[in-house]
């Protein structure tokens, strides 16, 4: 099994009008690491720099303790898959996949191609041209082309973004399975938190050319380190305010005159984040001392199919995620007065 530890150390890159600054990453051998960030955060540039396709201004890239910063791409033993697959349009599927084996003058080309096409279930496509393939098929071919040379690190640039939802779900499962079978150290960039959550061992959140938080899916989800991360991972309720401590040692957080019970050691100006699915809506106050309970008025109802987002203005405005059934049962309509409740421990202060 070829798999390697990837370390990016204080990496700085200037690409056109864009720059990455002081990027630090340590991806363990065999780890599936997802770089999550909005469009324009510099994710693709980061991947291209790891691959040796962009000039480094400062810092270093190590693969298995080997400093590859000055290596050209062809010496790094890296697999790269672009968002729109970048298959060679003048070559058949089999020739695309064989490309790496051929230029590296490795033997047993047909056996290598046969093995990887079988693994990805694309054997029947071998004599087709890329333009005759569906998006999902093209992506499998691009993966096969990258994996056939047994790279030390696999870099995936938004590999699922260009696919329709159904194909996407299937390929996402396949990526997870491929990773289980081959154990290749993988860096996958995406702007989709759900995709990241489904695949990642750990996530690095990226914004404006910097890595702003690294952690497990749960840590990023529950304990975002900044308002940006909180919003980006779908926490709708992010409030600036002040964390204080009561005389008997309990922690409190004040937003615009509303005080919440929390469970934190932080004191001073901070942010509070609260996930919409952690908020309960009820017609009457819920009798429980462990909960925050506030009264407000419904100002917006957004239907997202399975779940419905209900905005309750206390003020400030809280967004709660409820099931469609609760909307009917509680008769939630615009302008109605309701109570929202949530545990002190659900409020993340940072």
């Amino acid at each position: 099994m070829t798999t390697a530890r990837l370390v990016v150390d204080q990496l700085g890159v200037a690409a056109g009008g864009f720059r990455l600054s002081a990027i630090d990453l340590a991806v363990d051998a065999g780890e599936y690491f997802v770089v999550l960030g909005p469009t324009g955060a510099g994710k693709t540039i980061l991947l291209e720099t790891i691959a040796g396709l962009r000039r480094v201004r400062s810092g270093a890239v190590h693969i298995d303790n080997e400093d590859v910063t000055r290596y050209p791409p062809e010496r790094r033993e890296i697999g790269f898959v672009y968002q729109d697959y970048a298959l060679f349009p003048h070559l058949t599927v089999a020739e695309n996949i064989a490309f790496g084996l051929r230029v590296q003058r490795r033997g047993e080309i047909s056996r290598g191609v046969a093995r990887i096409t079988a693994l990805l279930g694309i054997g029947p496509l071998r004599s087709r041209m890329p333009r005759d393939l569906s998006g999902g098929e093209q992506q499998r071919v691009a993966l096969a082309r990258a994996l056939v040379v047994a790279p030390r690190v696999l870099l995936l640039d938004e590999p699922l973004s260009a696919l329709d939802p159904q194909t996407r779900e299937g390929l996402q499962r396949e990526l997870a399975q491929l990773h289980r079978e081959l154990g290749t150290t993988t860096v996958h960039v995406t702007h989709d938190f759900e995709e990241a959550a489904a695949l990642a061992d750990r996530i690095g959140v990226m914004n404006a050319g910097r890595i702003v938080q690294v952690g497990t899916v749960d840590a990023i989800f529950r304990r975002p380190a900044s308002p940006f991360v909180a919003r980006f991972v779908g926490t709708r309720n992010v409030f600036p305010g002040t964390a204080t401590r009561t005389a008997d040692g309990e922690s409190r957080f004040t937003i615009d005159g509303v005080t919440l019970a929390t469970a934190t050691t932080i004191v001073g100006p901070a942010h509070a984040a609260l996930r919409p699915e952690d908020i309960l809506i009820s017609a009457a106050p819920l009798p429980s001392s462990a909960r925050n309970c506030l009264h407000g008025r419904i100002t917006a109802i957004t239907d997202r199919g399975m779940i419905v987002y209900v905005t309750v203005d206390v003020p400030p405005e809280f967004v709660a995620a409820v099931t469609r059934r609760s909307v009917v049962e509680l008769d939630l309509v615009m302008g109605k007065g309701v109570y929202i409740s949530f545990k002190a421990s659900a409020v993340h202060i940072f």
């Binding site: 890296i78 060679f88 490309f99």
Partner: protein, 260 residues
């Protein structure tokens, strides 16, 4: 459904048709008013054969030189941003707008007997005045833009990420160029090559300044017209037009296969 006359289409067809007729009539007239016997006598004339063959191969040599030097230039222009790139791109197209006699004079200043390069090549016995090399450099100068522009457009149409992927798969810069960029831009380079060669064939102005003798086909035509008049020049013109037409048909066929 009412079908109304589209007057715009009618007017534009008439206007465009006038221009087409203006081009086609003289060409077809030249071909069809020539007597077949006269045409035959002209094509077996060794002087005519020699001039047409000289045009063909001098232009082929010029095109060969442009392939070796112009395709790399085209690749650099398509792939890299650098200071002065706009100036270089303008420079490449300059020979298209400079009067070709002026281009001939400019070449003569450098490659003539008193010119720096003219003197430099003298010891190895290469002269650029009244010689085949003179014809070649004149053709190269005026027809090079066609190849460089076509090749540059061809390379620019190749997604640079394809070459990047090739690099990550283990290909060096030369390998990525040879296995990815070149095969994908090949059609453009080929049609640029044919276009440049055809443009070289028809060159008169720059060639005649440097080299009257040996005569290329357009110079021969000019000489026969000046010395003997229209009837004597016409069959030569027919052969030149027909060979240009043949080249053009090949070019169109190439362009069509590219689209498929």
């Amino acid at each position: 459904m009412t079908s109304r006359i589209n007057w715009l289409k009618v007017a534009f067809t008439l206007l465009g048709g006038t221009l087409l007729a203006f081009i086609l009539w003289p060409l077809l007239n030249t071909i069809f008013t020539s007597h077949p016997h006269e045409l035959w006598r002209t094509i077996i004339d060794p002087q005519v054969q020699g001039a047409i063959l000289l045009s063909f191969y001098a232009s082929a040599i010029a095109t060969g030189i442009a392939i070796v030097t112009g395709v790399p230039l085209a690749y650099l222009l398509a792939r890299h941003e650098f200071a002065g790139k706009g100036v270089i791109e303008g420079l490449i197209d300059l020979p298209i707008v400079v009067p070709h006699t002026a281009a001939g004079i400019a070449l003569l200043m450098v490659f003539g007997r008193e010119g720096i390069l003219g003197k430099a090549f003298e010891p190895i016995g290469m002269r650029f005045v009244s010689s085949v090399p003179g014809i070649v450099i004149a053709m190269l100068f005026v027809s090079m833009p066609f190849l460089v522009d076509a090749a540059r457009d061809g390379f620019a149409a190749v997604d640079p990420r394809l070459e990047r992927v090739a690099r990550t798969l283990g290909a060096g810069p030369w390998g990525a160029f040879r296995r990815v960029a070149l095969p994908l831009a090949w059609r453009n380079i080929l049609s640029g090559t044919v276009l440049m060669w055809a443009r070289g064939l028809s060159e008169f102005g720059a060639v005649i300044i440097l080299t009257y003798h040996p005569m290329v086909a357009p110079v021969l035509l000019y000489e026969r017209f000046e010395s003997y008049g229209l009837n004597y020049a016409r069959p030569v013109a027919v052969w030149i037009i027909l060979s240009a037409l043949a080249v053009f048909i090949v070019l169109r066929l190439l362009a069509r296969t590219r689209k498929q």
